[in-house]
């Protein structure tokens, strides 16, 4: 096969007109949702309602309704928190890191992935708030002068977490909104409804597509990408510090930060890939979110999955090499102990199955990649479960060992978190353009002037 690598292949298939891009992307916003949408949102709404009931039970009766017990103070609450924060990482990676690397295929999926980041971090943020027991007092997580005269402990990783996650949420939201402004202006100019026009006018701030603005806008996008790149790496690093800075066997390891970041990107990409498979099908975006894009995402899943697998194996090597009998016991206990089933679900879903993506046919087969993506997320959820539960149930002091099992309320809140995430996602699909109109136009073949014959960046 001969490919001319001097000419960049357009990431958008065919050469759709700008007007057709507008029509296609704003179609979900201008048409009445069909029956499938209502079926989908009633399913996610039911899940959300179950979650709301379980949260109400937790708030009313306290944390005693959860499965947490004396050695396992961090049960499902922290497992779910780490899982959801991880899901968010794909969005920032796509919108910031791939932007800095000039990966044009990101344009079709960036907006959607950023939206998923915001919803995932919102979902994640609920868990620590509930886990503190009195979710109406979270103001004390943020240092402020108060009548008690006390401040937060600035050298605690848990306080770093508060700063990292809230900064991550705010910056992601700003990044997302900045990207939306030109699209909202386009929608404002094409809508006929009066209320819609008012809403779009307010949120587009009166954007005029002026080149004197575009110039600063592009610079701002670059600056935000430059800030978001170390930020996204710092967030899961700090989440891993919650574990790594403690002295629990199995947690107190320096490999945690890179291993957590790779795992977060891994699970996030799997989630984005899963959802995009539906979105591109339902709204006929196959030529914007192309199979090539999905294949590239699968390659990233393969890379990060291999990094995670390397980390799993390296943990065992270091446990053996450290000569620390407690550390060695913890790892043997993970593989053969009472939670070995969880370990093997994690290991097979995260390390073994994604290796199938080495085969090009599998990378380009939508049903298989969907199943593998689901498995990756199952595996990544169990990774957090294994890390939290196996270390805590069997720590240094055998007399305090105890078994951990979640209660129905725990499972209900987990289900509700998926309900919240997907409900927000469905509402997002119907209210805002899920593909960046202005960015996609800019990468269509012929959209940029060819004055010297060489593609000008």
């Amino acid at each position: 096969m001969s490919v001319d690598h001097t000419q960049e292949v357009s990431v958008v298939e065919g050469q759709p007109s700008f007007r057709s891009i507008d029509d296609l992307i704003s179609k979900p916003l201008e048409t009445k949702p069909d029956r499938n949408f209502f079926i989908a949102i009633s399913i996610t709404g039911t899940m959300l309602l179950i979650g709301v009931i379980c949260v109400a039970l937790t708030v009313w009766f306290g944390i005693g309704t959860w499965g947490n017990n004396q050695p396992v103070g961090w049960g499902f609450g922290i497992v779910n928190f780490v899982f959801w924060v991880g899901i968010g990482h794909a969005g920032t990676l796509i919108s910031a890191i791939l932007f800095l690397f000039r990966q044009k295929w990101r344009t079709g999926i960036a907006r959607f992935a950023e939206g998923m980041t915001i919803f995932a971090v919102m979902t994640a943020g609920l868990f620590p708030l509930l886990h503190v027991g009195r979710p109406w007092l979270p103001i004390y997580l943020i240092p402020h002068p108060n009548q008690h005269g006390v401040w937060t402990n600035f050298i605690s990783p848990l306080v770093w977490d508060v700063f990292a996650v809230s900064t991550y949420f705010t910056v992601s939201l700003v990044f997302w909104y900045i990207g939306l402004i030109p699209d909202l202006a386009t929608l404002r100019d094409r809508t006929v409804g009066k209320i819609k026009k008012m809403i779009y006018s307010v949120f587009s701030l009166g954007w005029r597509h002026s080149n004197r603005h575009w110039q600063h806008y592009e610079m701002m996008y670059l600056i935000l990408a430059g800030f978001a790149t170390p930020l996204v790496l710092s967030v899961h690093t700090i989440v891993s510090f919650d574990f790594a800075v403690s002295i629990m066997p199995g947690w107190h390891t320096t490999i945690f930060p890179p291993y957590f970041v790779a795992g977060a990107v891994f699970s996030g990409f799997a989630m984005v890939q899963n959802v995009l498979i539906f979105v591109r099908r339902i709204f006929n975006y196959e030529h914007i979110i192309t199979l090539d894009t999905l294949e590239k995402m699968n390659k990233i899943i393969l890379v990060t999955g291999s990094m995670v697998g390397y980390a799993y194996i390296m943990e065992f090597f270091i446990a053996w090499y450290s000569g620390n009998p407690v550390e060695q016991f913890v790892f043997v206990n993970r593989v053969f102990g009472p939670y070995s089933w969880a370990y093997w679900i994690m290991f097979s879903c995260n390390v073994i199955f994604p290796q199938l993506f080495w085969v090009k046919k599998i990378r380009r087969s939508i049903p298989i990649m969907f199943i593998l993506g689901v498995l990756v997320n199952v595996g990544m959820w169990f990774e957090r479960f294994v890390i939290v539960v196996t270390s805590l149930t069997r720590d240094y002091l055998p007399s305090s060992w105890d078994h951990y099992a979640p209660t129905l309320v725990d499972l209900g809140i987990l289900l509700g978190s998926f309900g919240l995430f997907f409900t927000l996602l469905l509402l997002f699909i119907r209210t805002l353009p899920v593909i960046s109109i202005s960015e996609v136009k800019a990468v269509i073949h012929g959209a940029q002037p060819h004055h010297t014959g060489v593609y000008h960046e």
Binding site: N211, H216, H456
Partner: protein
């Protein structure tokens, strides 16, 4: 009413709009702008725009954010509320890096965006003359537009139309201000808005009052100071005898609490118990401190009963008498442990070792008050 704002022209191809911008610069227009549905590469050069200064804004704000975070944490940890945590210094720089980094990123990205939107772009501006024109509808979708503003020094309606025709612009049209845009009155002072502000203020205050004074004291909201708990010496219905305080389980001994076997047997104590401590300097110093605290109020600093309680309390016999000198250490220990006459037991105030050091100090007092030639 019909004041001219600008003359606009549209183009189909990105190459054409680049040429149009170059031509506008060449003709000497300065108050013009190009509108494109997405940023067209090379346009900044064609318009000869200076590089964006946003990077410097972000740099300055980021440095200020970092400095603020570090200063705040230094002030809080070392001046306002110094606290030793984990034996670390008050200002452990490496452990403060994560928060410094997060505050830097947060302030730099959020404030730079706000400065770009509100200072650089002067947004929100929904009453700009270009809004709701056919021109705007095209440039936000599929065409590229250029407009020359009426307040350009080179502006002449006729010439500008000619210029746009020369560069093959399509749909050349004039944009006028409408009434609302010519109205310079501040809308902030409209009575409607002021009424809205007052209503919002009242509503907000009522809500805050309700939340802080009522809502937070309804279930399920509870606070640690009023949660269900057992208070000593209070009635508690959990146990059958309604006592909240419990006696030790029969036949058990609390940690560190050795039973005293000589309660009614002072002579036995004097004969059997032996001082386990050596009269070292440290022990004597400890004994002096404990003696001065617990014994000296009645017995006096010298053990002779010349105390600050004299006249208000029966004077105890001197500790330096031959009788007490002849007692064994265990016999004196017994008095501290079990009390004697009006003197109560000091077993709750002192530990076993402390009592023995007090005995040693009393021995030292006895010798000092009955010093011989050889001392």
């Amino acid at each position: 009413m019909s004041k001219l704002y600008a003359i606009t022209g549209l183009f189909d191809k990105p190459e054409d709009i680049i040429q149009a911008a170059k031509a506008a610069v060449k003709t000497g227009y300065t108050k013009y702008d190009v509108n494109t549905p997405y940023p067209v590469h090379g346009m900044d050069d064609a318009m000869k725009l200076p590089p964006s200064k946003l990077g410097y804004v972000a740099l300055v704000i980021g440095l200020m954010g970092a400095a603020f975070a570090l200063f705040a944490m230094w002030y809080i940890n070392t001046i306002d509320y110094p606290q030793v945590i984990g034996g670390k210094p008050f200002f452990p720089l490496p452990a403060l890096i994560p928060i410094t980094f997060e505050v830097t990123v947060l302030s730099a990205s959020v404030l730079t965006v706000l400065i770009m939107l509100f200072v650089f772009f002067k947004l929100p501006n929904n009453s700009h003359p270009l809004h709701d024109t056919e021109y705007m509808k095209r440039v936000s979708s599929d065409m590229y537009g250029i407009y020359i503003m009426a307040d350009d020094p080179e502006f002449d309606e006729f010439k500008v139309r000619g210029f746009l025709e020369d560069i093959d612009a399509k749909e050349i049209s004039a944009i006028y201000y409408d009434d609302e845009e010519l109205n310079t009155r501040h809308r902030v002072f409209e009575p409607k808005f002021i009424i809205f502000l007052i209503a919002a203020g009242i509503l907000n205050s009522a809500l805050v009052y309700f939340v802080y004074n009522k809502l937070l004291y309804m279930p399920p909201f509870d606070f640690m100071e009023e949660q269900a708990k057992v208070i000593p010496q209070d009635e508690d219905t959990y146990f059958a005898d309604n006592f909240s305080m419990r006696l030790p389980v029969r036949g058990t001994v609390a940690r560190g609490d050795m039973p005293y076997l000589y309660s009614n047997n002072p002579e036995g104590a004097g004969a059997d118990i032996v001082n386990p401590l050596l009269p070292t300097k440290a022990n004597l110093a400890k004994g002096e401190q404990k003696y001065n605290t617990f014994c000296s109020p009645c017995h006096g600093y010298l053990g002779n009963g010349e105390s600050r309680m004299r006249g208000q309390f029966p004077v105890p016999p001197s500790l330096n008498s031959q009788k007490v000198i002849s007692w064994s250490d265990g016999r004196i220990y017994h008095v501290i442990m079990a009390g004697q006459n009006t003197m109560p037991s000091y077993s709750k105030q002192t530990t076993e070792d402390e009592r023995w050091t007090i005995v040693q100090y009393i021995r030292a007092l006895q010798r000092s008050q009955n010093a011989g030639e050889t001392d």
